[in-house]
Symmetry: C2
Subunit: 294 residues, 2 copies
């Protein structure tokens, strides 16, 4: 699947240099997708892997290639991609497609495949999650422009969107084979589990990538940096410990909430729980392995 996923990214024009090809290969999007959903129909696993590839390409464009250095720089691209989402990837010959370029074409391809493989409700959920991701990138860009380190509470909230966890969970449920319905998704217990899982996936990523990002002075959008309040030096090790403590406390809360949910015996919830549990574990294992953080 790894080769197919890279081929998709190449065929969509998402990669236009050897450096970017090596970067995406190193990030191993198919490896992460395969860990998040070890079994499932090939087309659905590929859809999840291709979403992850698209997100990695977007993240790198914003983070390392400078597109996200200021919201006014990023906004035209975000708006053009939102145009693609508004029509669920239907082809249009308006100016949007041209402005969005290959990421817009690729996003349209993802939308059309979600539409073909899933339900209308899943399509709306997917599109909504990617929309929030794109809008939240503008928040990151504003922080970068000012070298601003957000407060912890603000960071935790916004990180849920910049991590694009919700659309990833949605396509994982699709690959597993049972989509959680609206009633489950508004059930306070699943809402709580969902938020905990989203935070754990993002923070795990932050903890593993801290070494790299700190050395590069790359980005303030990391739980450790935010806890340290942007100060380096002797606060650094205590911030790293505080971030790990926070992760572990949320993991305990996750396990308690999960046990209560599974005890209810609702099969609709079982698949939703599996998707989230898989993602937490997958992120951990993949973070250890992936050359992305080498």
């Amino acid at each position: 699947m790894a080769q197919q996923s890279i081929e998709w990214a190449l065929s969509q024009g998402l990669i236009n240099s050897g450096h970017r090809l090596r970067r995406l290969r190193g990030a191993d999007p198919a490896g992460l997708a395969g860990r998040a959903c070890p079994e499932g129909p090939t087309d659905r696993l590929r859809l999840l892997a291709d979403l992850i590839s698209w997100l990695f390409v977007m993240d790198d464009a914003c983070d390392e290639d400078g597109l996200g250095a200021a919201p006014t720089l990023l906004a035209p691209t975000v708006a053009a991609l939102l145009d693609v989402l508004d029509v669920h990837g239907a082809s249009t010959d308006g100016p949007a497609a041209a402005t969005a370029g290959p990421p817009g074409e690729a996003l349209g391809d993802l939308c059309r495949r979600v539409s073909a493989a899933g339900t209308p409700a899943l399509l709306l959920r997917f599109v909504g999650g990617v929309r929030d991701y794109l809008l939240a990138l503008l928040w990151e860009a504003a922080n970068r422009e000012h070298g601003r380190v957000p407060e912890v509470a603000e960071y935790v909230q916004m990180r849920r969107h910049t991590g694009a966890v919700h659309p990833s969970f949605a396509l994982t449920e699709l690959a597993i084979g049972t989509l959680s319905g609206a009633a489950s998704r508004t059930d306070p217990a699943l809402v709580a589990l969902d938020l905990l899982a989203a935070d754990l996936v993002c923070w795990c990523n932050d903890l593993f990538s801290y070494g790299k990002e700190n050395l590069d002075q790359a980005d303030v959008h990391n739980l450790v940096v935010v806890i340290a309040g942007g100060r380096s030096g002797r606060d650094e090790s205590s911030a790293l410990r505080a971030a790990a403590d926070r992760f572990n406390e949320s993991l305990s809360a996750y396990l308690t909430t999960e046990a209560a949910l599974l005890a209810s015996g609702d099969d609709d919830l079982r698949s939703a729980v599996t998707a989230r549990r898989n993602w937490i574990r997958a992120t951990y294992d993949w973070s250890l392995a992936a050359a992305r953080y080498a």
Copy 2:
């Protein structure tokens, strides 16, 4: 209903000065809600009116009171309000409620009433629409900070979110009595109608408010200003004409799309169409009448 709506805003602590009370009274949120849905159960009309009051208070806070002068200034409030949305207004004793203040309490009240009156799918739709509104306010704030006038295509896309049209349509369908399902909401014909209606509502607002905002030099977020490319003077009248032409072209497209949809005879679509048609007409009539633009 006008008095009840003002009382709700007062009871939620959304208004803390005579100036703000006069401003909200002048904006007449209940008048707009009543025009958007002339009949319906009182509690649902009040819910729509209260959403509109909440949006007016937020818009004024960002636009006239300076909260939206820069994204880094606005972001803590946005994040705290997103926390409220994440748990659908369930009461929490975390720091979020305190940071969000009265707008957070009021938003929680709206979420709980939507949850009680509607379906789980409506709640998710409502919460998603308000989330996009809040995130899009950060985009506006970035433009204000730089005195930046966005390109027309970018503005048209983002205006759909800053206008909060989607959650307003959702609560209007609720008041009318038939909620469009996911299948309708992903039907390309209704998607097209929805986008046209959203644009028409926002642009109508822009055209009427242009006089006021131009005189005050208040805000670049207006279709006329964007078409003029931020230049005033002799370009102004041609920009105003171009904006009106754009409105009229979209109105024609709306009527054609609407006729085709109604000819299909699907009752699920009929209510969705009514909500959108009402909103276009309501915005026009209310704009003429409301002291907000006096």
